[in-house]
């Protein structure tokens, strides 16, 4: 997210050509932003590659050195050379980067599977978890936000307002362990073995959604409170409009913009959280893939998964940045002028 929103308005050209020139400027802005995003992704690739190269050891040597294997040094050297691990690091980086730019992501050092295939196999699982969690989180936040406005001042209202803090301070894995113990072990309500079943996915998503919803709820409640203090809300109430109508018709709309921004931001949170959640529930998603690649020093897999996560984050931010001027007319000139 950038500071573009607060940039000074500088567009002041003639009315006739204004629309055409705005569109042109927006095009330049969009192209520049996209270019920046691509550079960030490539830099991320290089950085991750170099960091991984700095760590001693590699999985091929570790496998060949496995005490059960019994290979000679010459055999180990031959296999290492097949993987190009005997080349200088910078050359390895150039080759790897060149291949990646051509869409060739290599094969995993530990399973020999194509990295592309491993990732496309893992994505649906993570997507199901993350999307369900995001929906649950938004619903949960919406519920808390609306309750905070509709419940009369008192203990119950304070409880609702303090729930986000509670959610935020409860670690994800603790929620997961409690849910597993109660729902799966005590009640047998969902399968631990079939981690991709609807029941398991729902429980895993809930584990992830609870802390994520807290951030959305906090912003939503604050925004609603702020709108409620505005003149138009008080006027609406004074005109005798039922409070629920006031919330839905007058408070909701202005509170949505900051809330949507937060939802965009928590996507990163959801991706990060899904790593832990996948591990707790034994799901075979991207998070698990990253975790295993780290443990096995599986560089090609790690590289692609980390860059992919970074790319998702960069793209989400890019989309939001590009959308702002389109959503809010006041920002159009400002964005285009930068």
């Amino acid at each position: 997210m950038s500071a573009a929103v607060t940039a000074p308005v500088a567009s002041n050209s003639g009315a006739a050509s204004r629309s055409a020139s705005t569109a042109r400027r927006y095009g330049t802005f969009a192209a520049r932003r996209t270019g920046q995003a691509l550079v960030v992704i490539v830099l991320c690739y290089v950085l991750v590659f170099l960091v991984l190269a700095a760590i001693p050891g590699d999985p091929i040597s570790a496998q060949l050195d496995n005490p059960e294997a019994g290979y000679s040094d010459a055999e180990k050297a031959q296999i290492r050379s097949f993987y190009g691990l005997d080349r200088p690091v910078l050359l390895q980086l150039l080759i790897s980067l060149g291949n990646a730019l051509q869409g060739r992501l290599g094969i995993s050092l530990s399973t020999s599977q194509a990295v592309t295939e491993m990732i496309t196999t893992a994505i649906p699982s993570t997507l199901a978890l993350a999307a369900t969690a995001l929906v649950l989180a938004v619903l949960l936040a919406a519920l808390l936000g609306l309750l905070s406005q509709r419940l009369p001042q008192g203990r119950l209202n304070s409880l609702v307002r303090s729930l986000p803090t509670l959610f935020l301070s409860t670690p994800n894995f603790l929620i997961g362990l409690v849910l597993i113990q109660v729902l799966a072990v005590q009640l047998g309500a969902f399968s631990l073995v079939d981690s991709e079943s609807v029941g398991s996915t729902l429980v895993a998503s809930l584990t992830l959604a609870i802390p994520v919803s807290a951030q959305i709820a906090q912003v939503f409640i604050t925004a609603l409170d702020e709108s409620a203090g505005q003149d138009y809300a008080e006027v609406a109430l004074a005109r005798g409009l039922p409070p629920t109508q006031v919330v839905l018709r007058h408070l909701l709309r202005p509170s949505l913009l900051p809330t949507v921004t937060v939802v965009g931001l928590v996507i990163g949170e959801v991706l990060g959280g899904s790593l832990i959640t996948e591990t707790i529930f034994g799901r075979a998603g991207i998070g698990t893939l990253v975790q295993k690649a780290v443990a096995a020093q599986d560089v090609p897999v790690l590289l692609v998964t980390v860059v992919l996560s970074a790319a998702v984050f960069v793209v989400v931010n890019l989309v939001i940045d590009l959308l702002y001027p389109l959503l809010d007319p006041r920002l159009r000139g400002a964005e285009a002028a930068r």
Partner: protein, 556 residues
């Protein structure tokens, strides 16, 4: 055959509005509402599946499916064993019996072998298991294709391998450049699995797809998804199980599903919730709770070295035989068995597992004797004491670091206990836990590290000759400085008959233990199976890999 990934239930039904609301209710109303929401969730069952299907929970199947890489893994081997056959069967006592090779002959000095194959055996794609196919397999076990990234099978005697050729439609001649007694038993080793010639010829990347691996075993692949599951189904025309397994014809079970569940406690929870028939590798310290709950516990021992420490004799303080003897005498192995493991573990009687046919009981050479240990250290001059009470000599404290092997469950608490035992006789032992790559780097490949923890299986005792001196892996860093050891090594390696070799193995073991080059701890158990008592007739081979061909499952 299906592609990887296709096995996962791709068409996951979208959560319905009702479910979402229930789950939402549970979250917002707190734990009190959980049971309510839980009861309404569908698609879960507390009971394990059908009577003729085995469900198997495993911590990982991450090694991939390139056979030369993963067939010897203690994880993937569980799957390979059901999908493929071997030329011979080697049982936990090292006895070799026919399987796909129905008989064999060998010349007097064990350099040439003639294998006769069983007729009528086919791979699941219909290709016959004939001399041509077996030659292709032998070539790939012995040589691999390292220039294409495909390693040979590590323990196959590739060093003396000369070649293999078809001597008829169903007989194969294999020759070696030197006596190779280990050849026949090694054919029963888990790395030597028979695959169709097409599978062997596939590239490294193609081989990573389990669907490409066509075996002749009692089960065939149904579906698999990386890091998620492998499902096998019975092969109906299977009729060539090794006789010793006691069942013929197709397998008793219709299907086996291996599900990956990496978290130890989750596998234990799933077993307790009766959601699985079999849980693999549960922490030994929680095993009692499973036996109390009526589960069957299998801790098969394999042929190989016992679990222990090999010492590098060129690294202080192990350069002094008195210190080495003191360490081995200072370890209370009975207490380790009592506290770290369960009754299913057995004490070491030598540096070789008791199943190895040539093993003799040499316990008296390393049994617990702290007084003797203290005397030895006094003799060695470690008589001064540091402020912490540890022994010292010339201002140097007596001590070393143990890095518990990441390959063995229970290794960490064991190292901590040993550190307490040795503290009693004045040796400071610190312990540090490492992950596999770091461990390899810091322990296995570091010649300045004095202690290397050993957990290695083999199917033939000939292997020991290759590990002990400078001509082999030089476990004890003796190089060629110990002529007695070298003589014994040559004797064991070059023996042409098993009877002659047995005496030499005893002499060798006695020498290794007297010199305290190797510190035995307990008999190695690397695989722990927590099983439902409904399962019958599971057998294990020489390397403790289960076979489910004869297995049946009783109604609950």
């Amino acid at each position: 055959m299906s592609r990887p990934g296709s096995g996962r239930s791709v068409a996951r039904p979208a959560p319905t509005r009702r479910h979402l609301l229930q789950a939402l209710g549970a979250g917002s109303l707190g734990l009190a509402a959980l049971p309510l929401a839980g009861c309404a969730l569908e698609g879960a069952s507390a009971e394990s599946t059908d009577e003729d299907e085995l469900t198997f929970l495993i911590s990982n199947l991450d090694g991939g499916w390139v056979p030369s890489k993963s067939a010897i893994s203690s994880y993937e081997a569980n799957v390979w064993q059901q999908l493929t056959d071997k030329l011979v069967h080697t049982d936990p006592e090292g006895t070799v019996t026919p399987w796909i090779a129905s008989s064999w002959e060998q010349n007097e000095d064990s350099t040439e072998f003639l294998l006769h194959l069983r007729d009528g055996v086919t791979f699941s794609d219909g290709t016959p298991v004939d001399a041509e196919a077996v030659v292709a397999n032998l070539q790939s076990w012995a040589l691999g294709r390292p220039e294409e990234g495909i390693a040979r099978v590590g323990l196959f005697p590739g060093g003396t391998y000369d070649g293999a050729e078809a001597a008829g439609r169903l007989s194969v001649r294999v020759s070696f450049t030197a006596p190779t007694l280990s050849f026949l038993p090694t054919l029963g080793y888990h790395g030597c699995l028979l695959l169709s010639p097409a599978s062997i010829a596939a590239s490294l990347e193609e081989q990573s797809d389990l669907a490409v691996q066509i075996g002749s075993g009692p089960f065939v692949l149904d579906t698999w998804a990386a890091s998620d599951h492998v499902r096998l189904v019975r092969r109906e025309d299977y009729d060539w199980a090794p006789e010793v397994l006691g069942a013929s014809g197709p397998a008793g079970l219709a299907a086996i599903t291996f599900t990956v569940l990496p978290d130890d406690s989750l596998r234990a929870s799933a077993a307790r919730a009766r959601q699985t028939d079999l849980s693999y590798n549960v922490n030994p310290q929680v095993l009692d709770s499973f036996t109390d709950a009526g589960f069957t516990l299998e801790v098969p021992r394999y042929l190989g070295f016992v679990h222990g420490y090999s010492l590098r004799t060129n690294v202080a303080p192990f350069d002094d035989v008195r210190v080495r003897r003191a360490v081995t005498r200072g370890i209370d192995r009975a207490e380790i068995l009592r506290t770290v493991f369960t009754d299913a573990w057995e004490p070491a009687t030598s540096w070789l597992q008791t199943g190895v046919p040539e093993t003799t009981d040499l316990t008296e050479l390393f049994s617990y004797d702290p007084d003797l240990a203290s005397r030895l250290l006094d003799e060695a001059g470690w008589t001064a004491r540091t402020a912490d009470g540890f022994r010292a000599k010339d201002g140097v404290e007596l001590g070393f670091t143990l890095y518990p092997t990441p390959y063995l469950t229970g290794s960490v608490p064991e190292a901590e206990l040993i550190s307490q035992h040795l503290k009693r006789i004045g040796i400071r032992v610190s312990t540090q836990k490492l992950d596999i790559p770091t461990w390899t780097e810091r322990v296995t490949n570091d010649p300045t590290q004095g202690v290397a923890e050993v957990t290695r299986s083999f199917v033939d005792v000939g292997t020991v000759a290759g590990v002990i001196t400078g001509e082999g892996e030089d476990w004890f860093a003796v190089g060629s400085s110990d002529p007695v050891l070298e003589d014994l090594r040559d004797g064991v390696a070059g023996a042409a008959s098993r009877a002659e070799r047995a005496g030499l193995v005893e002499d060798l073991s006695r020498h290794v233990l007297e010199q305290a080059y190797f510190i035995p701890l307990e008999q190695n158990v690397q695989r722990i199976y927590v099983q439902s008592p409904q399962l019958r007739d599971i057998s294990f081979n020489a390397v403790a890999i289960p076979s489910y061909h004869a297995t049946t499952k009783e109604a609950a």
